[in-house]
């Protein structure tokens, strides 16, 4: 798990300048009558990062910062408004690249947040798990498919006999195991996990995370892990990216980011982690609310909440720069006001 990728190797997935805007304008007639302008939610507003083979890259951030949108863009559930997504060096982002997307799609699978919604309630578990096998025509013959399904269920800690049952007969944790088995059935090398544990009890969360790490080691998987739980992120990831209002404000190796956070927002997030020791340490409280992504603040989107903000931050959006392998987008860091 904690095997940092080879610096020289080409990244498995490379995202550059990824943008996704959602049109939330009023209907045409209302726009004309009430003289409203078109409005867009800038869910993802120019994001770039690389994921090396075998890594676990985590995206963290508050609700509504666009983490899930990034996940959905990468697996092709949304079309990017602009920017590029390269998988093994092949461009799969734009609409014109549909053929490439189709060719590369089988290499990726996704695990969803809500284990109660991600399994079709009218299908048996065996049929659910077998779907990617049928879709990719990996195996022919009923017997072979069923045997493979049994194998997959065993691999995620369920029994082959569970294949006969329906999803509602399982608990949340067990359902998430079924989800994982389904994802593995397509024999992917890249798994996008959209908050796979946030709907589960803490004890079950640990089981699922251990299972995922176990599988990563055995099958050499690469993960993109979306979460808002920093403790979980620290536990599983090799690299972490922090998102704020559709932008990546900082990304670095997990240890570096947690021990030496540079961006003021990262510091704020880390300070918000509760600890049981009641250490009484000085915290910077998380101040204010996330502004609306329909009308984000000018310049650096974080400036209204930032203790280090100055005039330049209100006007000019900071570009990401690299400091000892840490990518940060912050004027204060660039000017040396924070180190």
């Amino acid at each position: 798990m904690n095997d940092p990728s080879d610096k020289g190797a080409a990244p498995l997935l490379s995202v550059a300048g990824l943008v996704r805007h959602f049109d939330v304008s009023a209907p045409f007639l209302n726009r004309v009558l009430e003289r409203l302008e078109r409005s867009y939610v800038k869910a993802v507003d120019g994001i770039s990062f690389d994921i090396g083979r075998g890594e676990t890259f985590s995206l963290v951030g508050e609700s509504g910062c666009g983490k899930s949108t990034v996940a959905r863009l990468i697996v092709g559930l949304y079309q990017p408004t602009a920017g590029s997504i390269q998988y093994e060096g092949v461009e799969i982002g734009p609409r014109e690249a549909a053929a490439e997307r189709k060719r590369m799609q089988p290499h990726m699978q996704m695990i969803f947040q809500d284990p109660y919604a991600s399994l079709n309630p009218r299908w048996r578990v065996a049929e659910i798990v077998a779907e990617p096998i049928h879709a990719r025509r990996l195996l022919q013959g009923k017997r072979e498919v069923l045997a493979r399904v049994g194998e997959l269920l065993t691999q995620v800690g369920l029994s082959p006999a569970d294949g006969e049952r329906y999803p509602h007969e399982f608990s949340g944790g067990q359902r998430q195991r079924i989800s994982i088995a389904r994802a593995l059935a397509g024999e992917p090398e890249f798994l996008v996990c959209d908050e796979p544990t946030s709907a589960l009890d803490v004890s079950v969360q640990a089981q699922i995370l251990n299972l995922m790490q176990d599988l990563q080691q055995r099958l050499g998987l690469t993960y993109l892990f979306i979460s808002h739980d920093l403790a979980v992120v620290y536990h599983v990831s090799t690299k972490v990216g922090v998102m704020y209002l559709g932008r990546l404000v900082e990304w670095a190796e997990t240890r570096t980011l947690f021990e030496h956070p540079l961006h003021p927002y990262t510091r704020m997030l880390l300070d918000a982690i509760p600890d049981l020791e009641m250490s009484g340490r000085q915290r910077i409280p998380v101040a204010g609310e996330v502004p609306s992504p329909i009308n984000p603040p000018s310049g650096c989107a974080f400036h209204p909440r930032c203790p280090h903000a100055e005039n330049r931050c209100r006007v000019e959006a900071p570009m990401a720069r690299v400091y000892n392998g840490v990518h940060v987008a912050c004027h204060a860091v660039a000017d040396g006001r924070i180190s």
């Binding site: 959905r72 697996v75 092709g76 559930l77 189709k102 799609q105 089988p106 990726m108 699978q109 996704m110 969803f112 947040q113 809500d114 919604a117 991600s118 399994l119 079709n120 309630p121 009218r122 048996r124 065996a126 049929e127 779907e131 990617p132 879709a135 990719r136 009923k142 017997r143 069923l146 045997a147 399904v149 049994g150 065993t154 691999q155 995620v156 800690g157 369920l158 029994s159 082959p160 006999a161 569970d162 294949g163 006969e164 989800s179 389904r182 397509g186 089981q207 251990n210 299972l211 176990d214």
Partner: protein, 327 residues
């Protein structure tokens, strides 16, 4: 982790059996244990309604055996038997329990054969409306955008016409286009088409709504990530999950379709009088209401009312039983 997996593998080793036989048994077991069966058992009105519906449907299906005689077999009709009152009245004849009409046909037999036409047309037009409505609703909801807008505007336009007017219109156009003999042959199909086409909107709207909900659920998105084509996702994932409300609408629509058919037949634009449905029988009978032969119109009317009431009650019960908010 590994220990746990091994233990689970030991517990149930064999590969699950998904054969058809096994599925059937399973389905029956689930039906017996289901909430629907439970709520059915606890509602006496529903049991009565179901029994009445079953009796009418079965006797219509097996009309040739159930009916005392075949009213359309000219050999068995005797004009001497015309206008006999019901059996319990002074001039009654035990051969004709509910009396006879002006041509000597037993009312009971014509009702049984008429119910066959009424139910047949009703079922066929419901199936027709259901296929058109569910299909368009699924496409509208899943594809969205312009396709959705076009289909839904057509639905809106159609909704502004009363169903009976639309059915009359379709029937009139068919009459104008087809030569007379062909029209008489095709009368039943024209009727099914005109009643069905006036009812698809409700299915389309309901299914579109449920499809919009289902298509954003994660299991549909999972199927998209897996790379299944849209048509398979619609048919195998979305369709089974939107059929619940459709069954309720279909039941209530059946009652409505039977009434519409009766209305059209009563107005004289339905099936041909040589093969009368319940509506035609009432139409024929009303000519004799004032000359004293009330039974010719009354009994078909009563059967129609009972049938529609029973089907409606079943539909109401089904709606409540399938609505989780009312449990």
């Amino acid at each position: 982790m590994a220990v746990e997996a091994a233990a689970m593998a030991e517990r149930g080793g064999e590969v699950p059996d998904l054969s058809l036989w096994r599925r059937t048994i399973d389905l029956l077991q689930r039906a017996r244990d289901s909430d629907i069966w439970y709520s059915f058992k606890r509602s006496p009105i529903t049991i009565v309604a179901a029994a009445v519906t079953a009796v009418i449907i079965l006797s219509a299906l097996f009309a040739s055996w159930v009916a005392p005689h075949n009213p359309f077999d000219l050999a068995t009709i005797d004009l001497m038997n015309a206008s006999i009152p019901p059996a319990w009245m002074a001039d009654g004849d035990t051969r004709f329990l509910l009396g006879t009409d002006d041509q000597g046909r037993g009312i009971l037999s014509t009702i049984i054969f008429g119910a066959r036409i009424s139910l047949g047309v009703g079922f066929a037009s419901v199936v027709f409306a259901l296929i058109v409505g569910v299909g368009l609703g699924l496409i509208s909801g899943y594809v969205g955008g312009t396709v959705d807008a076009v289909i839904m505007r057509i639905a809106d336009i159609q909704l502004s016409f009363p169903a009976i007017l639309l059915a009359l219109l379709v029937d009139g156009v068919a009459r104008g286009l087809l030569p007379r003999e062909t029209h008489d042959e095709l009368a039943i199909y024209v009727l099914v088409f005109s009643i069905g086409i006036s009812g698809w909107v409700q299915y389309a709207r309901t299914v579109r709504g449920s499809t919009l909900v289902e298509k954003n659920k994660e299991y549909v998105q999972a199927a998209r990530v897996i790379g299944r084509p849209a048509i398979l996702i619609i048919l195998r994932h979305v369709l089974p999950n939107v059929m619940g409300p459709v069954m309720v609408i279909a039941t209530i629509h059946l009652a409505l379709a039977i009434i519409t058919e009766a209305t059209l037949s009563f107005l004289g634009v339905g099936v041909s009088p040589t093969e009368p449905s319940l509506g035609t029988l009432i139409n024929v009978g009303q000519d004799y209401l004032f000359s004293g032969e009330w039974w010719i119109a009354l009994f078909p009317g009563a059967v129609l009312a009972i049938l529609v009431l029973a089907v409606n009650l079943l539909g109401d019960w089904l709606r409540d039983a399938l609505n989780p908010k009312l449990r």
